[in-house]
Each structure stands twice: as C-alpha cells, then as structure tokens.
C-alpha cells in the first residue's frame, strides 16, 4: 500500500496516520431503495486492480476526510483532495 500520502492540509505523512474507509465512488441508496440495494451498499465491494478512489481519514493529523486516488497495483498515489471539495462526495 502507498506509504506516503500527501495530505492537502498537512503535507506528506505516513499511512499509519490515516484510516481507510474504502471506495469513494459508491452512492448511498434512497431509504426505500429495497433490501438488495442496501445490502449491496453496506456489504458488497469490488476489489479493483489499478486506479481506485478511496476515502481516507487523517485520523492522527488534521482529522479531515480525504479522497485518495491511487493505484492498487503499483502503489502510486495520483491525487489527494479534501472530501468536502466540490464534486468529491458521491
């Protein structure tokens, strides 16, 4: 896994300071969307190989939620942005 994450607020920090929530691309279903949609939202995840967007929390730093776009195969980190930035929250 990528070992240095360039937090937009704190600068480069080791991954130990962060908590990974997972896929940043999934959308919360409507309350009445039905059991299948909610089961998929809560439990089902892809395991992508390659470029992937995830929510990371800078738990031991600025405590902001970030969107980290990284490559699960090469460990390259492409972008790190604050999750509150326009268009970042699914």
């Amino acid at each position: 896994m990528a070992s240095l994450i360039a937090c937009p607020h704190c600068g480069p920090r080791p991954k130990e300071e962060f908590t990974v929530r997972g896929d940043a691309g999934i959308t919360r279903p409507a309350p009445d969307a039905g059991e299948d949609a909610w089961h998929a939202y809560v439990y089902l995840r892809d395991n992508p190989r390659g470029r992937h967007k995830e929510h990371w929390h800078h738990t031991s730093g600025c405590r902001r939620w970030l969107v980290v776009e990284r490559d699960t195969m090469t460990h390259a980190v492409y972008t790190v942005t604050d999750a509150s930035a326009p268009g970042e929250t699914a």
Binding site: H9, C10, G11, P12, R13, P14, E16, E17, H58, S60, G61, C62, R63, R64, D82
Partner: protein
C-alpha cells in the same frame, strides 16, 4: 451535592524526574512539564471564511497562544486557568463564526528543548522538523510513535507537545528514552 470533591492533580506530577542517559554531552535535552493552564479548542463554523485574524483575540496575547490544528481548527493555550464563566465570556468575540470547547481537563503540554531536539523528535514522527520547513510558531498534529500529539515550535531549539492527558506519562517516558544518547534532564516540578 457531590459526594467527592474533584481535586486537580497535574498529569505528570508523579512522572520520572531527574537526569538520564549520556552524562557528558553538549546536546542535552530538557523535558519540562508545563503549567496546566487553559487549553481551548476553537472550531470554525461552516462557511465562516478566514478567521486567522480573529482567533488570537481569544488568547492571552502571548507569543504562541494560538496553534493551528487543521482547517478551521485551533488550540488556544495559556498558563492561566480559566473558569467556565471566563471561557464563556470569550464567545462574543467570535461573533458566531466559531465555537470554543474547553479541553483543559483533557490535554497537557510538555516542553522539550536542546540542540538535538529535532533529532530526538524525528525518532517518533515523520514530519520534517527542519527550521526551514517548520519555522518558529508553526504547529503540526501528528503521531509520535503511537501517540497523537500537536507539535509546536516555540524557538530554534524549543518545541512544545500538546498531548492527551492519559497519554502524557507514556509520551514522557518515551521522550526520555528517545533522548538517552544525548542525555535528558526531566523536570516535572512546577
């Protein structure tokens, strides 16, 4: 009516004190348990804009009273202990743009200084502490080992660490160990 009187006991009152490690060194580290005055956590309201000019008015005017924590968050620190009424009395200054949360019960300050202070802290954190990157007055929330702490530079060879009260003695012991090669003078008396 309370059944027990709550007595304030300094977090580091019974921590290790004295001289440790290398006996002859010109780069000795000094660890100091700093006064437990006030620690105010200030949080900006959503969309309140740039408050960097406003926050110092909460503080006591001392040089390093305001320590940036993250976007829209600051710790305001001073040596005087403040009553709840005194803290509440500061809220009009913020004009609804930010809130104050008293953290004086929860976080304590440790001073660490000496010629080798950057080398000692670098054993615990990945933050670049070089003076050119981390000037006097700069703060960074980070991990020192496994303990979360706010590192602030108060001088070329002086740092202050704001740490959760319950972790203060563990961090204190770790700092002594990290400084052994340079020699450490640990002062808990206040």
């Amino acid at each position: 009516m309370a059944d027990f009187a709550l007595l304030h006991r300094p977090a580091l009152a019974t921590a290790k004190s004295g001289s440790f490690g290398a006996a002859f060194s010109n780069e000795r580290i000094t660890l100091t348990a700093l006064p437990e005055g006030h620690v105010l956590h200030v949080l900006a309201a959503r969309g309140s804009g740039d408050l960097t000019g406003l926050i110092p008015r909460i503080g006591d005017g001392s040089a390093h009273a305001v320590r940036a924590y993250g976007p829209g968050q600051w710790f305001v620190i001073g040596d005087a202990s403040l009553s709840a009424a005194e803290i509440f009395g500061k809220t009009p200054v913020l004009d609804g743009k930010a809130s104050i949360s008293d953290q004086g019960h929860g976080r304590v300050l440790i001073g660490i200084s000496g010629a080798a202070v950057e080398a000692v802290l670098a054993k615990g954190t990945a933050v670049d502490l070089a003076l050119s990157n981390f000037p006097v007055g700069h703060s960074a929330m980070t991990l020192i080992g496994h303990i979360s702490a706010l590192i602030s530079r108060t001088g070329p060879e002086n740092f202050e660490l704001l740490v959760l009260r319950g972790f203060a003695e563990s961090l204190w012991d770790e700092l002594i160990e990290m400084g052994l090669e340079f020699g450490v003078d640990a002062k808990t008396a206040r």
